[in-house]
């Protein structure tokens, strides 16, 4: 069969299966992003607080999840948490619960993202002069409002390039979740390649699709970047 029939939609082609894979990849990355961002932000707050125990705890987290291979983290979550849950439910007699590969991917990639994002946020925090916070407090804003209205808008602008990089890594790392059975782009292409015996065509298609997602993201990030700089003088 020629390439167009194989990649077509419907009964004879794999186009619809791979398209479903694109949706899974995109939704896994989009679902992981907020977890990683919020958790990374909290970690950065913990790292720059003057509570030494809090610093230490956040640093232990970062050291572990920045140092482990993403694939190993994924397996630790998938097999470790599931076997822990399994022994917990058999011991207590509760109904069986298990993490699906999607949720495992979300957790594993989320903690990895958070570990890296905390460093990005931390250096962005350090780039904001102290006077900004003091000025906000002097105007009578509460601590929460200073964070929300004064620090955060500047923080996003400084942290955006670093976070954009992490987003690209996240998008690429979702391909690892195919190893534990998530039917994302890579897994669907792998199945198609095995059945049709056309591995080059299908893995090539998968790579092109990832490339398209990356290009799409860089356009979106460019838009966000312009939005964060809307207060600056136009060039």
């Amino acid at each position: 069969m020629d390439a167009l029939t194989l990649l077509g939609f419907g009964e004879t082609g794999w186009g619809d299966d791979i398209a479903a894979g694109v949706v899974v990849t995109a939704s896994l990355s989009l679902a992981t992003l907020p977890i990683g961002l919020v958790f990374g932000f909290l970690l950065a707050l913990a790292k720059q607080s003057n509570d030494r125990l809090l610093n230490l705890s956040a640093n232990i987290f970062t050291t572990i999840f920045r140092g482990l291979p993403e694939l190993l983290t994924l397996f630790l979550v998938y097999f470790g948490v599931n076997s822990a849950l399994n022994s917990l439910t058999t011991a207590t007699g509760l109904p069986d619960i298990a993490l699906s590969s999607f949720v495992s991917g979300m957790v594993a990639l989320g903690v990895v993202f958070a570990a890296f994002a905390s460093e990005v946020f931390l250096s962005a925090f350090r780039a904001i002069p102290h006077g900004q916070r003091e000025g906000g407090l002097a105007l009578g804003l509460g601590r929460f409002k200073v964070m929300l209205l004064v620090i955060l808008p500047q923080l996003i602008k400084i942290a955006l390039p670093g976070l954009a990089n992490l987003w690209m890594n996240l998008l690429k790392d979702t391909a690892l979740v195919s190893v534990i059975g998530l039917s994302d782009i890579l897994r669907q292409s792998q199945i198609a390649a095995r059945v049709s015996r056309e591995p080059f065509l299908f893995f090539g298609t998968a790579i092109v699709l990832y490339l398209l997602l990356t290009i799409l993201s860089s356009f979106a990030i460019g838009g966000i970047d312009r939005w964060t700089k809307r207060g600056e003088v136009a060039k």
Binding site: N50, D51, R52, R66, K172, S178, F200, I207, L211
Partner: protein, 271 residues
């Protein structure tokens, strides 16, 4: 710009406040995790497992280290012409190298490895005629090839950034001394660029150690591959914990070595 004229701000005196609730809770969670792990480990610890798989883990560790070392060195060699192409004035070589870098940085390594290992096998006849089939037949070489090309793209960007961070005056100074371009590049610019590039290079090695675990999927028995095999034979979760400890030790040792090396190499820059 009023900010620039202000004296550099000093950090406020560190408050040696008593640890607050948040810190106590956070650290106690970690202590609880550590204790739970210790209990689990003591209970699950099995000497026969070490006797059975200890040597496998060491050989896996060796495969990981040698794979990363060889592909890093190959990548470094490939990255030099790519970095030069990225900086060249010729638009054709600029766009070709840009496409190379964008392709490798914009797609997942695991997909690249699959394309090489499974995809290239489809062109067996072609590789046999050009005499390269022995190379693309072996999973180890395929992993090596994919990792080397991938890291070449990243290293080209590191190298380019480092070379461009050296001020132009260094080139001009060399020219005014009558040095040929090659000598200026290797004896004047590169030593300064390498100091800038040291940390990114170390980061790249760490990223490669982590990424090299992927080759286990295409049946290379590196540290992760041996781990997967040990797990599939015993269904004992501690096999993964051993791998985690080994990987963490490797990465942390490298990180500390880099800090030490950077301090040592930049000691002439400190005042």
């Amino acid at each position: 710009m009023s900010e620039a004229t202000l004296a550099p701000e000093k950090a406020p005196p560190a408050l040696r406040a008593k640890p607050k609730l948040g810190g106590i809770i956070a650290i106690s969670v970690w202590i609880a995790v550590a204790v739970a792990f210790l209990i689990y480990f003591v209970r699950a610890f099995d000497v026969s497992l070490i006797e059975r798989f200890g040597a496998d883990y060491l050989s896996g560790l060796w495969i990981t280290v040698s794979l990363v070392t060889v592909s890093f060195v190959c990548g470094a060699v490939i990255s030099l012409p790519i970095a030069l192409g990225r900086m060249s004035t010729n638009p054709a070589s600029r766009s070709a190298t840009f496409a190379f870098v964008y392709f490798y940085r914009g797609t997942p390594l695991i997909a690249q490895i699959f394309l090489v290992y499974y995809g290239f096998g489809q062109f067996r006849g072609f590789f046999e005629t050009i005499g390269l089939w022995w190379f693309f037949r072996e999973a180890w070489y395929c992993g090596l090839f994919a990792l080397a090309m991938n890291t070449a793209a990243y290293q080209a960007e590191i190298l380019r950034g480092a070379i461009q961070s050296v001020p132009k005056g260094q080139w001009e100074g060399g020219r005014s001394l009558g040095l040929p371009r090659g000598v200026i590049f290797f004896k004047v610019v590169m030593p300064q660029a390498m100091i800038v590039a040291l940390r990114p290079y170390a980061n790249e090695i760490i990223l490669m150690i982590k990424a090299s675990a992927i080759v286990a999927i295409i049946t290379v028995y590196d540290l992760f591959g041996e781990t997967r095999q040990a797990y599939s034979r015993t269904y004992d979760f501690q096999t993964y914990v051993w791998a985690a400890i080994l990987y963490l030790a490797l990465v942390e040792a490298l990180r500390h070595a880099t800090n030490w090396a950077e301090g040592r190499l930049t000691r002439h820059l400190k005042r």
